[in-house]
Symmetry: C2
Subunit: 596 residues, 2 copies
């Protein structure tokens, strides 16, 4: 695959590189006196200099002869020099930041490249949304490699999204310069069952010579995993046990060991490498998702490398897992992922290897960050009207939340959430009927919940009940709710629920908390109802404020926002609520709210 | 890069593979009860079965559920199962066998794939010659990956070849299905000196997203090697010292450790891996050239793996060096080089790992060889008239060999060969003049030598003298002589020389030995004057007979044929003779035969 992510294609600058390496011309930049983390041979080499021109490495070794009067010389003062880091699987939307703000946040931590699967925005806005994000990315130094969303909608037939992706759409995107492959193929039942549409999506990727990426979350590593890998899926970040990760590596699949904000898999999956003396070339470290607070407090890939070292992975091996191994997974190793002649000069300096403490970052030979601060600026990007006006709903009234019922009480199925887990229980409870509608009941810790389709004005709405949030009074709403990103509202009374919903309809989506007719906290996410173009510091503070509000309202969940966001995700057990109604995820069928 | 070398593209058979892996359909072939050499994780795994359909691997592990009534089941009886071997750099012409006969010879030794650089035939017949060889290859099970010859002629301006290769030719071949990259870029001075034509040839390869392969034979691993690698050359088989090989690996270049018939580098270069605890993913094992006798007596890649193990390389590491590492070098690892689902079912069984003794070979799931015998047949291929009539010379007379001179003796520059070495010395000697011409002199071990241009009837001929063959009487001739493959004749008298030349003109090229007006031995090489379509057994016997004849004629050289073949190769020190005359390779200028 020809890399479109460097300053200049290699074929346009080989003569210049050769002349600089021999000293016939002089380098733009020389970084000298470093300790090189050599990811090619797994060695640490002393007293290494690197000569750079055209954004690429011309020479590694002794570069004195490459220095001219116009050469910038940086003394690394014996710091560690490594390839800059790459995240092999990330959804930028989960950071709630625009690509530009995300780039600002991660580049200073040493990240030069991310392989993104923008399936959230794609569910809302289709390929237009993907294109907006890629346009946003272009201005930044962060190399943003697109893997085209493969599963839009995630679970067809149970909810309404803003768009869908067919094999023809995938084929179209494979011609994009920025596209390197296919995003995580979550529909493993479709792969294992030889569904032609699902296989068609993979086939279009393979035809283009690009990389289909995977998502295989079953604990079954026999026929199922083999069938999945045989279908061309090259990597997977869904291992939660060491035996899953090693099974994948043995079958030639890149095991992307995950340490995200919500998923702390590394403690377990690192054992795939630490407890066996295996060749680790098929292991990578990825984040999958990172919330602004994690980025602010802990960092990005640097944090995950640090975590890997804490789990006993050799530091040089850990660096390989975020550099050359990722590059080889995507067959971009001729351009990225090592400190070697001809490669893009994407480099970090670290003053502490075990702490993976990045002090200086270079991308395409440009000095982009120092001591955690960005050294460069880039032009602002304005998302189009289509992106910033994606909540297509008229204002709602309290009556829109009513669940009509006769009598004095009703037996209903309620969705009981499990603290810190993605699953739910189906629980039948008796709720009071007030003014002709079934009401929430704080005594039983039960809130009313509603999902409004917000993309195409179908007018569809699902209503039900949820148990276990710990909130006695008020309402919460959000447009992030996975994977259709419809408007999800939960609350104790219809008035607060309507206010919460209308606040988000007004601001183009986001998160909100309401109590007794007052908006206590709001995080606007005007880009597709998923992201904001505000800086990470502001977003992090706003989200902390929101979490604080939830706690004050009585929430007892460790991650109430995420738990809430999963209520409509109809691929998880046991029951869910989408804009089309209650779904029994054990049988994949719709169910009645009222229990017999 | 999409692989065109498998039975069926992956995108056409993922559904079938998934169904076989899950057992919904049954496999064509199951190999069970093997010990898997897992090149992905560097492990040996017990009791492994492999299920195969569509020529690809559907499942690795327990395959009982993949067996149906039409499934062929092979019990590996606890033999070692490994990916079949690949030779990352080979010139088939040096075997003197056609591609078909070469394939027959190597497949039974476990070779499933070769990355060929057909620059010999290209010097004679241009891209037509390359195309003939690729057509020949198509019928065989051997996956023959073309790297387009980059240096035709090898040394421009000093000799006449049948063809030349420009950047436009390279660009043309990059569209070939069979082309994976560029052949060894021997013109490292052109790369280091930023020559636009040389860089243009590499650039056309890079533009096509294919792999430029290298040839960097300098001991300098600083600015020169960096410049060479910075120019995009991804691998090199020219290391003769461990420090050269490790320097290349550290700079992200694949070090192809060579053990050819003429070049026994492994004893030294293996130390790059054995004496350091480095990651060996950038090391491969290659043959570069193999004579029929080596193939008959020792084998092909199996022999080199055995040699690597003898040199102390771990057996599984050695197998990695001829499987997954080669595949990753050429970015074909998604298709070849590991025993993993989706990959081509190119497999070997071995009953002894340390001896690398291959008993069974499968290519694209077809059982192609057992116990050293081919199990399949393939259609014969007939090379075109252009290939089989490539010696464009009218019969020669003794007078054509005359070097006119007055007087009784002459002081001339003679080329003194060095036993077992590629270099020569420039030596000034006094030779008798007989019948108006300078004569050979057996007292001084000096033969007359002549090079006739044989491609385009330019009528050019170079004449001179060579010292050190030990042959008192008679003549030798050959059309293999590197790299222009003109007609080279050496002898004690003009009559025998004319007979030797005319014998080869008559049979379309080859090797011949003549004594006292009689042809003692001849090896016809009618394909481009380089190769024969006769079986390896016949060729090996013919060459042994020729070597025996040389010895009987008095030759004292360890490898007289190769030493003779290098007489015209004007890139080696000190002096050479081409069809244009004597070349002083110290100054790269023509020189007079008569010494001042």
């Amino acid at each position: 695959m020809i890399n479109k992510f460097c300053k200049k294609p290699l074929y346009e600058c080989t003569m210049k590189l050769a002349r600089v390496a021999t000293g016939a011309e002089k380098a733009d930049l020389v970084i000298k006196n470093s300790r090189l983390i050599n990811v090619c041979t797994h060695e640490i080499m002393e007293n290494i200099s690197v000569a750079i021109t055209e954004g690429r490495i011309a020479l590694v070794g002794d570069a004195e002869h490459c220095i001219g009067e116009n050469t910038t010389v940086i003394d690394a003062e014996n710091k560690y020099l490594a390839p800059a880091f790459m995240d092999g699987h990330i959804h930028i939307e989960s950071s709630m930041l625009s690509v530009g703000e995300y780039a600002k946040a991660v580049v200073a931590h040493g990240t030069s490249g991310v392989f993104i699967d923008p399936h959230e925005i794609c569910n809302v806005l289709g390929l237009d949304g993907v294109n907006y994000m890629m346009e946003d990315a272009k201005r930044t130094p962060l190399k943003t490699m697109l893997t085209t969303p493969s599963c839009v909608p995630a679970v067809g037939g149970f909810e309404d999204t803003g768009a869908k992706i067919d094999p023809a759409d995938v084929a179209l995107t494979m011609d994009y310069d920025c596209c390197v492959g296919l995003g995580e193929m979550m529909n493993f039942p479709g792969i294992l069952g030889a569904n032609p549409h699902t296989h068609g999506i993979v086939a279009e990727t393979l035809k283009a010579g690009k990389i289909p990426t995977g998502h295989y979350s079953l604990p079954e590593t026999g026929p199922g995993l083999n069938a999945y890998i045989a279908s061309g899926l090259r990597c997977c970040h869904e291992s939660t046990r060491a035996e899953d990760a090693i099974a994948k590596m043995r079958l030639g699949m890149y095991a992307m060991l995950r340490e995200g904000s919500a998923w702390h898999d590394l403690h377990e999956v690192a054992k795939a490498v630490t407890e066996r003396k295996v060749d680790s070339r098929f292991a990578c470290l990825v984040s999958d998702d990172t919330h602004p607070n994690t980025l602010m407090r802990h960092g990005h890939i640097d944090h995950i490398v640090r975590r890997a070292i804490e789990e006993g992975i050799d530091p040089v091996t850990a660096i390989q897992m975020v550099t050359i191994n990722v590059a080889q997974c995507f067959q971009l190793d001729h351009e990225m992922g090592s400190v070697a002649p001809s490669k893009c000069a994407d480099l970090v300096l670290m003053d502490d290897l075990n702490a993976c403490h990045v002090t200086d970052v270079f991308i395409d030979g440009e000095y982009v960050a120092k001591d955690g601060k960005l050294l460069i600026e880039f032009a602002p990007y304005t998302y189009s009207e289509k992106a910033t006006h994606s909540v297509h709903l008229d204002p709602l009234a309290p009556a829109d939340f009513k669940i009509p019922c006769e009598g004095e009480s009703a037996k209903v199925h309620t969705i009981e959430v499990i603290p810190g887990r993605v699953g739910t229980f189906d629980k039948v409870v008796t709720l009071p009927v007030q003014e002709g509608g079934i009401a929430a009941d704080s005594e039983q810790d039960i809130l009313k919940v509603a999902v409004f389709e917000r993309h195409k004005r179908t007018g569809t709405v699902g209503r039900g009940f949820v148990k276990g949030f710990g909130i006695k009074r008020g309402a919460l709403a959000q447009t992030v709710a996975h994977d259709a990103h419809n408007l999800l509202v939960a609350g104790s009374n219809d008035e607060d629920m309507a206010l919460a919903a209308n606040t988000l309809i007004e601001c183009g989506g986001g998160l909100v908390a309401v109590l007794d007719g007052k908006v206590l906290s709001v995080v606007p996410l005007p880009i597709a109802g998923l992201m904001s173009d505000r800086p990470i510091e502001e977003m992090s503070a706003a989200i902390e404020n929101m979490e604080h509000t939830w706690k004050e309202m009585g929430s007892t969940l460790p991650s109430p926002f995420m738990t809430m966001a999963l209520i409509p995700l109809a691929c998880l057990p046991e029951t869910r609520l989408t804009n089309r109604g209650m779904v029994d995820c054990r049988t994949f069928s719709f169910m009645e709210l009222i229990a017999e």
